[in-house]
């Protein structure tokens, strides 16, 4: 499916979708509390069949955080980027690791680097940093007087 056809087939799925123009692939914003059902449909629907989550990350925009899910369909060879805006003070979003198992590790990484809490995650612990680490290092306001490189 090309980008236009993909857009058209996404519209009936959720009334609150907004599209971001530019970029190589279709970028779609969804309210964070409606993300989980949408992704479930994207994976299950035979015409869309996004069975491969190849990148899950977060971007700190200083005023808010944006979760970014890169999806592809190995069968149909189309790609989609789904985004959800979270507030910075208490970011919470449903886990997707029951849809794609790879999300379990990727969400643990986002949790410790950005402080996003994934609801109903089976094992939300720090993965890379030490257990007593303070702060969310990939947020823009993180300061480390010893180890930071600044130019």
């Amino acid at each position: 499916m090309d980008n236009e056809a993909l857009k058209a087939s996404l519209l009936p799925l959720n009334a609150n979708l907004t599209f971001e123009e530019g970029g190589e692939w279709v970028n779609v914003f969804v309210p964070y509390n409606e993300l989980k059902p949408l992704l479930k449909t994207l994976q299950g629907e035979p015409d869309l069949y996004f069975n491969y989550l190849f990148c899950l990350t977060c971007v700190d925009w200083k005023t808010h955080l944006t979760m970014v899910y890169h999806l592809t369909s190995l069968k149909w060879q189309h790609n989609l980027v789904v985004k959800a805006v979270l507030n910075r003070e208490n970011p919470q979003i449903e886990t997707v690791c029951d849809i794609w198992k790879t999300a379990e590790f990727l969400e643990r990484e986002v949790y410790e680097l950005f402080g996003v809490e994934f609801l109903h995650h089976p094992d939300l612990r720090r993965l890379i940093l030490t257990d007593d680490f303070k702060g969310w290092p990939l947020r823009k306001d993180f300061e480390d007087p010893v180890n930071m490189i600044k130019l």
Partner: protein, 371 residues
């Protein structure tokens, strides 16, 4: 193949493998829950060489950050650089000269060969055969010498720049590569005779560390690990970059999903790499080796994603740009990270002695996982 034994609470215990353990090839820490010799659960603990490359890149310019990425998957350093260069070029919309594209792809495949060589030697050593290690390093040394001559370095080549390659190839480059390739073909036959056909080796690998097609997709596996489970995921075929669209090669797919399948995929991939180099080495076009770019690069506001096939699988570079000289946010989707997340699924229900065979065929490079 895949069974979880019933267990009594008294017989269950936990052991640590790593962070310093010869079979992990780096500082990886596995906490394994065992019932007798049977593995119930594996929990990887990461981060022993975490340097936060993603944060570091946020303060480096688009010319500088490429060199940091050589330190992620240091066995595919050249391919990491390639991914970053392609991503920046996508943002700048630069046309890379054909000569540079040819050189890049030849270098990529040489890197892949060197990486698979090291994997083959190290994996044979893991399961008890010491000699293959020396055979593998003999050939790898030749590749490193070719790299050193043209790039000036043996491991962290840093030969790519946005728009092409940093310098032209050494005058002897073509001749040396051809010489190497001519001798190398017999070597793969030798490897097959030495290790692949060995009955002891096959008994050690077959039916061990099984990963189903569904799990390989769900865990986001890529590269030889996924292809051994029957997932067609070669980025060079599906989303060709540079001259990969013009060369003839086969995507190697096995369907058994065990350690031996992953072994076979890599061995046969080496043959394909040789095939690609053979097609290109005589036809490197004349011309510039670098497109003209500005001294200070500024990417337009937006998001850019580029994936390439490293020796381990699909590497993704995700750049979020605010229009400045440095990336606003950068994310590396590393193949090893996703492949490692499937380890629990592969090893569960198997014996602890087989774990080494499973891990050996995962071909983990720890800096790639920790970043």
């Amino acid at each position: 193949m895949h069974q979880v034994l019933s267990s009594t609470p008294e017989g269950i215990f936990t052991i640590n493998v790593g962070p310093q353990h010869p079979a992990t090839h780096g500082v990886l820490h596995l906490v394994i829950t065992l019932n007798g010799e049977t593995i119930l659960k594996i929990e990887p603990h990461l981060g022993y060489i975490h340097r936060s490359i993603e944060k570091m890149c946020e303060s480096l310019t688009y010319r500088q950050f490429i060199y940091v990425t050589s330190r992620m998957d240091y066995l595919s350093a050249h391919i990491n650089n390639h991914a970053c260069a392609l991503c920046v070029e996508k943002g700048l919309q630069v046309e890379v000269p054909m000569r540079a594209q040819y050189i890049r792809v030849i270098m990529d495949e040489l890197t892949r060969l060197a990486s698979h060589e090291l994997w083959w030697g190290a994996m044979a050593m893991d399961v008890g055969a010491f000699t293959p290690f020396f055979y593998a390093f003999r050939e790898r040394e030749t590749i490193n010498e070719i790299m050193e001559e043209t790039c000036g370095a043996r491991l962290t080549m840093n030969y790519m720049v946005p728009g092409g390659v940093m310098a032209d190839i050494h005058p002897q480059f073509q001749q040396k590569v051809k010489q190497f390739i001519a001798g190398y073909k017999n070597k793969i036959a030798e490897y097959n005779e030495l290790v692949t056909g060995n009955v002891i080796f096959q008994n050690r690998m077959k039916g061990v560390g099984y990963l189903s097609t569904e799990d390989a997709i769900s865990y986001g596996c890529s590269g030889p690990v996924a292809r051994a489970s029957g997932v067609a995921c070669d980025v060079r075929k599906r989303y060709p970059y540079d001259v990969y669209a013009q060369v003839q090669f086969d995507e190697i797919i096995e369907t058994t999903g065990d350690s031996f399948a992953r072994y076979l995929v890599r061995i046969r991939e080496m043959e394909q790499s040789v095939r690609i180099i053979e097609q290109l080495i005589d036809n490197i076009p004349e011309g510039d080796y670098q497109a003209k770019t500005k001294a200070v690069l500024k990417l337009p506001k937006g998001e850019f994603y580029q994936r390439v096939e490293t020796a381990r699988g699909e590497l993704g570079v995700y750049i979020v740009s605010e229009g400045g000289t440095t990336p606003y946010r950068i994310k590396f989707r590393s193949p090893g990270f996703s492949n490692l997340s499937a380890l629990n699924e592969m090893a569960k229900g198997g014996k602890i002695g087989d774990l080494v065979a499973t891990m050996g065929t995962l071909d983990l490079v720890i800096p790639d996982i920790d970043r």
